[in-house]
Symmetry: D2
Subunit: 280 residues, 4 copies
Amino acid sequence: MAETENPVTRISDHSYNHLIFGYPLMELTGNITFGEATYLCLKGELPNEKELKMLEVLLTCGISGGGLGDAQVQTARCIATANRDDPIAAIGGAMLAYGSTTGSPAFTAQFVEDAYAFMKKEGLGKEDTAKRVVEDTRKQGKRVPGLGHRWYPTGDPRAIRIRECAELYGFVGEKTLLYDAISAEVSRVSRRPMPPNIDGAFAVAGLELGFSPLILGPLFALGLLPGNIAQVEEEIKEHESRSIRRFIDDRINWQYMGPSTRHLPKEKIKVPLVKVKLEE
Amino acid sequence: MAETENPVTRISDHSYNHLIFGYPLMELTGNITFGEATYLCLKGELPNEKELKMLEVLLTCGISGGGLGDAQVQTARCIATANRDDPIAAIGGAMLAYGSTTGSPAFTAQFVEDAYAFMKKEGLGKEDTAKRVVEDTRKQGKRVPGLGHRWYPTGDPRAIRIRECAELYGFVGEKTLLYDAISAEVSRVSRRPMPPNIDGAFAVAGLELGFSPLILGPLFALGLLPGNIAQVEEEIKEHESRSIRRFIDDRINWQYMGPSTRHLPKEKIKVPLVKVKLEE
Amino acid sequence: MAETENPVTRISDHSYNHLIFGYPLMELTGNITFGEATYLCLKGELPNEKELKMLEVLLTCGISGGGLGDAQVQTARCIATANRDDPIAAIGGAMLAYGSTTGSPAFTAQFVEDAYAFMKKEGLGKEDTAKRVVEDTRKQGKRVPGLGHRWYPTGDPRAIRIRECAELYGFVGEKTLLYDAISAEVSRVSRRPMPPNIDGAFAVAGLELGFSPLILGPLFALGLLPGNIAQVEEEIKEHESRSIRRFIDDRINWQYMGPSTRHLPKEKIKVPLVKVKLEE
Amino acid sequence: MAETENPVTRISDHSYNHLIFGYPLMELTGNITFGEATYLCLKGELPNEKELKMLEVLLTCGISGGGLGDAQVQTARCIATANRDDPIAAIGGAMLAYGSTTGSPAFTAQFVEDAYAFMKKEGLGKEDTAKRVVEDTRKQGKRVPGLGHRWYPTGDPRAIRIRECAELYGFVGEKTLLYDAISAEVSRVSRRPMPPNIDGAFAVAGLELGFSPLILGPLFALGLLPGNIAQVEEEIKEHESRSIRRFIDDRINWQYMGPSTRHLPKEKIKVPLVKVKLEE
């Protein structure tokens, strides 16, 4: 392994004093909040007051908001009902249920970053950029991420709340305005309002705070974590049955559409069933 | 870090030839089956014919048998519906849904190992050992793992099938017979038949094959993996909606029993809602 | 599925207003901090000032303190170097690296809860309880969790810091004092100082805050999450090589001690190597 | 939730007889091998002899071949050293360490599928298609996946072995030959041999077997699982220390390059350090 492939890290110095970006961990503990700690880890500096408040908005906009129907809560509950002995497994597993279908500010953020880079490179205005990227996206048979919500046709309240806080704290910048133009263009071509949903609003606010798209998925997941922990505790404590809970219920949830009963060819049956009887 | 703390490994030599317990990987590929490879990894030697057949029984006794209601399938589907972009996340997450409630041969195997060690140490017979460990377990308010199944009051067919194959291939040894005695004793004191279920039968067969209890959970999970992969493929391909699928459905699955609507104290509302209107 | 098996939840009402323990989510966003949100999710009520400050101490005592040598950071880096495309996988995987060896306040908390229940049931004093539980633990060949640290023989600074904050905010109660007595007893019988380490101090402070042992592992993990996210970002951005980074390095980390080269028996070689040549 | 959104499944019927694509599970157990079970789950039909042999080649080409330096083994070991209590966590976590950098037949398979669809649509020959897709890929600043290996400049033996078996069993079809042409074109433009590596050879053989690209990552992971289980067992049994093993070792592996020691501004220090002394 070549010398240059060794990892270097700017995050923490593993010595007695445990420096976190230069600050002794012990000096931080008891003097900063978890919100400040999060900002420090992700940006390398402590936040000013407005940066901190904006980050807290992002961290609290999704706390268990979707309840039992959330992808993450569903997953946490499914693991917890089986693996009651190690709650950390349910928490870790639930962290995996974020992607382009839900909990996906990363995808929108990358989309906006790319559109913004294109706008700068081409020297276009916001509206022209929006036209071009929306057209381009539709040509590829894709959709612009972060817009519209099935349950909130006139606007996701979480997105509206993020935006009103962003205005208050001064985090409506060029990327947000470009995304506004993109949202307007998508609304125009699809002939119905397509305002940002929670993913879209989180994504642009995250970019305005200076975060990289790649950490926005994990940051969103961080905000949902306390709710997931509560759900896992509830599942383990409340469900005393010896069997797992079956959330996917055949009364409403699914049906079998595979082949009907068939049997192995005779010559494959080397070990016939003796004590087990198949029902016919 | 002291020298003695460096890991040593007997499993594989990472060189051009990739030795697996001494065998060149390239000689194995194309000449052994995956069942043989599994045995080699877990025991350090290739299996004889009966050992291989018995291992194949264990690896095929649970293939997607529980369908959509399985803890693992539920989990895989919940992750896949959210994170369609990385199917490996759904597969990895589903691996976490094994524990003492389901998919748990490890717990039974450890129980039998302990009972067996106790029998040998005390020089007791099987029936006396069974009486003692069952009494002891009940005193601690616990239950003997691996016995009984809610859906199969007279016997889990998968357990019966494992046992009939174990008899055929010569894997009914002292640990199996001790567990039979324990099953009989539990049936006696609980006044209903408590035969081994799939976990119990898998556990003792795994011990007779010489596996350590700690690998029996992962080995069981290995057997369910192909079914889980199929479920993830089906979920990603068949569900075209832009939203996640909500498996936990409020029509039948749950209800909210928390506090009714309340509001933050006035002094806490520093940023009042302007554009968002709460429904009353 | 019986009616009584349906999950009930006190956490969140999945309606337009998204009640979190009764509070409209939109009223919380922008008006509470993430520390408050965490407390609300885990206790069902908002914290008073001292409860909040104490929780913030717990959430900030471990932020990336162990650096690259942490179990969680190691895991996150190992996954990120392979799976650069889905950072959420590295974050979810790192959540799994908490157990009785590290990051384990859950084990200590359960130990203290059991000792405390025993003390109350038997009507003993702290010192007598400590004697009894320490003796009992040693008889079982186990060790009392949460005491001592290889690198800090005279005291883990993170534990000392947690304690001095607990004194300041009024969270030194009976369980903490009982654990003090247990620590003194372990020190006496092992003839060297065995003060609480970060796990032990976190565990008793968590109990004094009224948290259940089963959520303390996940709560500890929550505190380490921002550091892990930073590590994953650094790993993905800094390591441009097309191959994975090999952290387990044979220059110092391991050696092969398995069988030397051997070959399959002739009759097993049905598909001889033609284009692949084994080195001798 | 609309009726049409209910999942349907063709995989398994969750009834007493547990049909797997129509076959009673109990008839399968004891009569088919795990390789056959895997094929059945993934294709819906039992394999013929050649299909089975080819699948076994894929499942055995990577068994613990990379040893301790593998991304998956590294991850499994890192989790196991921390979380000794739940080996399933280490196994599940290791499943996440597959991506475009390693263990990635899915990426190559998708690339080949797209190239093949382009060839058919445009009515081109293999060489012309190869020219076009390689040029296109390079223009986008990307590289063709699955070609070349740092350690095996003249050819990855695992890829060569997969190919010689594919020839023997009749699985060298149009997609394989197209990928050959692509490999030749990449070699030409990069002026060094760029033959398929294990990912590339696995990918095209998987396509020839009729598997969808999206399951090839999980299928590859399945083949590595037995080796990972063995590694986890070894880690848990052999490492008796009370502390975690630190695989990322500062003697060779990393260095801190962040800010040097700095302190919080005076006004931020509300809770000064009393019992904790920072080293200067």
